[in-house]
């Protein structure tokens, strides 16, 4: 048995884990998007500042502007550093710089560029006027952009991190609540009485995921009950079948003991013999029924040709049939193969033929057929006797059920055949037999065997 696991714990882990992963992923994407947007925004800012500075210096306002800017920067530090250069006949002079500025490295090319400055990454933008007289370089620490992007990313992650435990709790609670019907079913099953299995109450509505469980359980309970009922009926019937002849034996024996005349004593004693014979037959049939058990079969039987077994059984019963003026014909198609234990086939055929000999009546015709059918072989025992009403046929293979004729059978013959058929993957069909002179039909029992699997 594998280790039990909690569906609830698994689902909580799975759900919170995947939600956390999705959030983390989206935060990463947002961070990158934000970074990109910040880049664009701040690059725009850089170019604007640079262009403005260039315009100012080109208008010759640079000294005034530089002073204003310095004054202003005292109060409001600007996150952008700049340098303004002037080409004085080939010599580059630094006209102005931003506050607290140590001076950029030389050689910063036009347009955007990135390089180390004062131990951090910076982004620069350089521009000059068309006459190459003035040159403006603006720069900004990269950290500013990352800070902005990180802030946006975190603004997404922090609420998620807070919400995640809440979500886990909600999932935990929700699953517990929704799995309660399973508990209900478990309780119902736990409360079942083994002695009187009743199907589970189907009135409490169950979610469609769990309802099939209850339906399947109820189907099982019904099947178990049926099997129980069968066994119970068998026990009751067996009690009846065993006790009635015993009662008869006892009564007949007492009658014999008290008989006043030799005639009545002889009669009673003869009845005792009949009773013992009947009991013997019943006990033998019961033992046969018990022996027809898959456990005694061992390995699957090898396919055999039924013709020989059928012939043997017919030989056994022929004298009895002839005593009653019955004609017995056998018609065996060659080359039939049936996968069945030989002893079982013999019992089945003997019971069918025995029934025919017993119940077809004096002078009846009895035909035994072995024939090829599409699906396999079929063995039929048919007679032109009184037959059996179709309504009664279906009950005949039940244990201890007899036909409506006056007879002393024990009612187990066809049950044994039916059991052998079930264990040998064959079908027992009870139907109309041979036509009678009066237009009616006798009785026929056919065993349809399926073709044995090809040897592998």
């Amino acid at each position: 048995m594998s280790r039990p696991y909690s569906l609830r714990r698994r689902l909580v882990w799975l759900l919170t884990g995947s939600v956390a992963a999705i959030w983390l992923l989206s935060a990463l994407v947002v961070y990158q998007r934000a970074h990109h947007e910040a880049d664009e925004l701040l690059d725009d800012q850089l170019t604007q500042v640079a262009d403005t500075l260039l315009a100012i210096v080109a208008a010759g306002e640079v000294e005034h502007f530089a002073k204003e800017l310095q004054d202003h920067s005292h109060h409001n530090p600007v996150p952008i550093a700049f340098e303004v250069w002037h080409d004085d006949d080939g010599r580059m002079l630094r006209l102005a710089t931003s506050m607290g500025h140590a001076g950029f490295e030389s050689g910063i090319g036009p347009g955007f560029s990135e390089r180390q400055y004062e131990g951090a990454r910076w982004r620069f933008y350089a521009v000059q006027d068309p006459d190459a007289e003035y040159r403006v370089v603006v720069g900004q620490a990269h950290a500013a952009r990352e800070g902005l992007a990180r802030e946006i990313g975190l603004s997404l992650l922090i609420p998620a991190a807070l919400a995640l435990p809440l979500m886990a709790l909600a999932v935990w609670w929700g699953i517990g609540r929704n799995l309660r019907p399973v508990d209900t079913v478990a309780h119902q099953v736990g409360a079942l009485d083994v002695q009187a299995l009743t199907p589970l109450d189907e009135s409490p509505a169950l979610p469609e995921e769990i309802a099939p469980l209850r339906t399947a359980l109820n189907a099982l309970i019904r099947r178990v009950n049926e099997a129980f009922e069968n066994e119970r009926r068998f026990t009751a019937d067996a009690a009846h079948e065993l006790r009635t002849p015993l009662a008869a034996l006892k009564v007949q024996t007492q009658v014999a003991l008290r008989a006043q005349t030799a005639d009545s004593q002889q009669h009673a004693l003869a009845q005792v013999i009949v009773g013992v014979d009947r009991m013997t037959h019943l006990v033998e049939q019961l033992l046969t029924l018990a022996r027809v058990d898959p456990a005694t079969q061992g390995s699957p039987p090898a396919p055999l040709d039924p013709a020989e077994i059928v012939a043997t059984v017919c030989e056994e019963l022929l004298p009895q049939a002839q005593r009653q003026g019955q004609t017995l014909t056998v018609d065996a198609a060659a080359g039939c193969r049936i996968a069945i234990t030989a002893a079982w086939l013999q019992v089945a055929v003997r019971n069918l033929l025995d029934n025919a000999v017993h119940y077809a009546g004096e002078g009846a015709r009895i035909d035994v057929h072995i024939a090829h059918r599409e699906t396999g072989c079929a063995i039929t025992v048919a007679d032109d006797g009184p037959g059996v009403a179709p309504a009664l046929r279906s009950q005949l293979s039940a244990r201890f059920v007899r036909g409506e004729v006056e007879n002393e059978g024990c009612g187990l013959g066809l049950s044994i055949v039916a059991r052998i058929a079930a264990l040998s993957h064959a079908q027992l069909e009870l139907g109309d037999g041979l036509p009678r002179a009066d237009g009616g039909h006798g009785f026929a029992a056919t065993l349809h065997f399926s073709a044995p699997a090809a040897p592998t």
Partner: protein
């Protein structure tokens, strides 16, 4: 005393018929429920011995039918089913007693005697009128303490008359109760038996009611 036996098993039915006949009953044996219903609707029996598992009509159904027409004939059920619910059901449907197969013949006859006695509202097992005493269990009759020898038929006739004191029993009723269907009855057999009984037990016990039948007054003093 005439009994209807309904039992489908040939061997047991044969044995019971023989055994009950030995015990002095006139036994009619039928083998299916339908026949039992027909017999019970036309004739009267002192008791019915009824098997439950019967062809054509189940024993319990016969019992239900019988009680449904307010027929109080005592019914003794024979059954192989020993489940409590089966017994309860049988008794609830109006059975008077219940015997489980296999049983002893003596048990059946004793129970039948008790059933017949109770059916006549009589608690004591011995019937007595004046100095005549009849013991159904021992099948013996005494007159003033002296044993009187009776033939089985004379005993049954006396038994019937004593069981129904102060009631006039018609010839037909008496014949029905004394003889089974299988027995040929001489037209004057009854008069012969009555004559013998009067000779053995005195003339004052049994009165002839002209054109009707016979009766024993409860206060007769033979």
């Amino acid at each position: 005393m005439r009994i209807l036996l309904v039992e489908d098993d040939r061997l047991l039915g044969d044995g019971l018929q023989a055994g009950l006949t030995q015990a002095g009953y006139a036994v009619d044996w039928l083998r299916d429920g339908e026949a039992a219903v027909t017999a019970l609707s036309t004739e009267s029996f002192a008791a019915v011995v009824l098997d439950l598992g019967l062809p054509k009509r189940d024993g319990l159904s016969v019992l239900q039918w019988l009680r449904g027409r307010h027929d109080a004939t005592p019914v003794l059920i024979l059954t192989a089913r020993d489940q409590l619910e089966d017994k309860v059901r049988g008794l609830d449907l109006g059975a008077d007693d219940y015997v489980l197969k296999p049983f002893d013949l003596d048990e059946i006859t004793a129970r039948l005697r008790a059933l017949v006695r109770r059916a006549h509202g009589r608690p004591e097992p011995v019937l007595a009128v004046g100095e005549i005493e009849l013991n159904p269990a021992a099948r013996s009759v005494t007159r003033g303490g002296q044993a009187v020898e009776l033939t089985p038929r004379e005993f049954d006739l006396l038994h019937l008359l004593l069981e129904n004191t102060d009631r006039v029993l018609t010839r037909r009723t008496l014949e029905e109760q004394l003889y089974t269907w299988n027995e040929a009855v001489d037209s004057n057999a009854l008069e012969v038996h009555i004559h013998h009984l009067r000779k053995k037990l005195g003339n004052d016990l049994i009165r002839t009611v002209r054109g009707v039948g016979y009766m024993v007054p409860a206060g007769a003093t033979p």
